[in-house]
Amino acid sequence: MKLGKTLKLIICTLLIFNFQHSIFNPTHAQGLLGGHVTGNVQLDGQMSRADSVIGAEEVPERLLLNARADVLYTNGDFSAGLRLEMYQNPLLGFDSQWKGQGVANYFVKYSGERLTVTAGHFYEQFGSGMILRTYEDRYLGIDNALFGASVQYRPVDGVTLKALAGKQRHFWDYGPGLVRGVDAEVSLNSVVKPLSGSKLRATLGAGFVSKYEDDENIPVPGTENRLNLPLNVGAASLRADLGFGGWSLQTEYARKGQDPNAINGYIYRPGNALMLNLGYSTRGFSAGIQAKRIDNMGYKSMRSLSGEMLYINYLPAITKNHTYAFLAMYPYATQVNGEQGVQADVMYKFKKGTLLGGKYGTDLHLNSSLVTALDTTVIGGLGTDGYTAGTFSKGDFLYGDLSLEVAKKLSKTVKLTATYAYQVFNPVVEGHAPDLYHNHIVVADLSWKVSKKHALRFEAEWMGSDSRYDPEHGHDDRRAGDWVMGLVEWNIGTHWFLSLSDQYAYRDGTGNYYNLSCGYTRGATRFQLGYGKQREGLLCIGGVCRQVPASNGLTFSLTTSF
């Protein structure tokens, strides 16, 4: 990686020159070569003790720490960046391979009016990400940035062409596969004269990605043979984004070539995926329906790797991203080997002065989703096409939920949000034995602006579930059972907050999870300190999940941007 070293050197030199100059000339924001240095820093720390009731294990290190700092230099159309990361040791739930420190990300970039060129690490997405999306999520411990080069060119307004090549970051190394891709997107309204200013809006796009990976020896069990692996695996997609007045329709269809890998059990069946969003909205009302089908679309730059790292594409969950604790307790995780689902979403605002709207208006939000497995027939294992799948017939039930949220301002200072949800969850999506949990959840969330300086927020949640905690008979999921939760949050001015919460499994007694936290924010700096118990479970962001073990102790977090 000679190129890498040179790049790092150039970026460091630029940053240091600029930095020194800003010290010696504090009245000028601009550095020696002009331009600006900006950045952000984040520190997350954790101290945890053993607790047998909640299943928190002894942590040998006194303090676990994840730290990072991004420094960005910008000068007109030119920019360069550097990121330092340190995991000494990584927080609970992070893969131990994160342990270490160093320069994790660096790049130089030119972004002109028509042309953008990046060398180094970069994040990119083609369309909805079905065939390519590199991204970073520091809370999940995922960073699959491409290291290489990317070019974006806009020959005329409304046309964007992209080309890229590189290898993906894998902890402190790179994945073995070389990823190359091209993408084109055309906005017909800009390109086709009669359509400019038309009520009809249309954008079309197409992308192609190819991954090259060296051959390896995957033996076929029971024989002396090994698999004849495709060294290049291609994926292509077509997409359209259409709109007419209040209506909108987005769709993308993707196909992937033969890609025997560790996720699909080394089968040769090609993959495909289809996504469809139909929406209508007008002031105060919106309705949308979303449908998605995924068939064998796990696409990684390392064929022998399972788990969440080194994905080239991104297939988020179709379900709503719930934020209340109990609604998010059993999150749905995308099944990249096969799933199909629909989601419907309706928002309505009862206007002020109407019967249901009252003095301040009322907001109604209805959401429902349903996901099933594909209806498949197995025709073989490793080295075969694996299975056949019915196009629209459904397989096993995986997840379903229905939630209704009503938000109402009761007076000038009090606002109430009430939510009811019904959820059916199959633990098979987390790799456990198939079963069905039926959960009813009720949430009341009340905020009260007591005075100009003080605000209080109360949250009460209840969950009734038919899942049982019975470790002797294999039911060892500590989320099981019926729960209650209470939370009080006190905002003092706009800088301080203090919050106290407790979650308690009142029937199965899998723990009492209390938490006390306080925080201080000033400008772009925020510090937060927490003490309490954390339930083991899945932390999911965008359908990608990380198993977080139980913990018991102190956490703190400092973030700042400058």
Partner: protein, 165 residues
């Protein structure tokens, strides 16, 4: 390594004082609510200040902030000429919901999508939203704030008032 981190923090603190007037980048691709590509240079207000707020549909404090500003937005505009531009960082999972969301909420703001977080990264937004910036009439970043607590909009408009004084 600890030394490096320490040096970096010091560096961060010093730079914070030194580099105050970074400009909003001009050539970063965003999408508008109609799905059309636009460049970040569209975020401007004819020489008047802009409040630039990064948000997401799933972010409760973001929604509280934007709902709260909606109540006073007409007064703010009249008094200071300020314009609020809301940039959503929703990814594929919820990006299709942004337009219905904005309409359903009846927000009077200019809204753009930054699905790949290119603009968010260029402005060091980090992982958490809301993150709100104030740009002066020249498009320079003069103030920024993380998070939202009830009443936070008062501090925001105070900063804008200082600019137009």
């Amino acid at each position: 390594m600890k030394k490096i981190i320490f040096a970096l923090l010091t560096f961060a603190a010093t730079c914070g004082l030194a580099a105050q007037n970074a400009k909003l980048p001009e050539n970063i691709a965003l999408k508008d609510l109609d799905g059309q590509s636009v460049q970040s240079s569209v975020i401007q207000n004819n020489g008047k200040p802009v409040i630039l707020s990064f948000w997401a549909t799933w972010c409760k404090p973001c929604n509280r902030e934007l709902d709260a500003i909606k109540e006073v937005y007409d007064e703010w505009r009249e008094e200071t000429g300020v314009k609020l531009v809301a940039v959503s960082i929703d990814d594929t999972r919820s990006a299709a919901r942004v337009r219905p969301w904005v309409n359903g909420k009846d927000w009077p703001y200019e809204v753009f999508l930054d699905q790949n977080k290119d603009l968010a990264r260029a402005l060091n937004v980090g992982a958490d939203v809301p993150h709100t910036f104030i740009l002066n009439g020249e498009g320079e970043i003069v103030w920024q704030h993380k998070g939202y607590q009830d009443g936070g909009e008062e501090e925001l408009i105070e900063k804008v008032r200082e600019l137009v004084k």
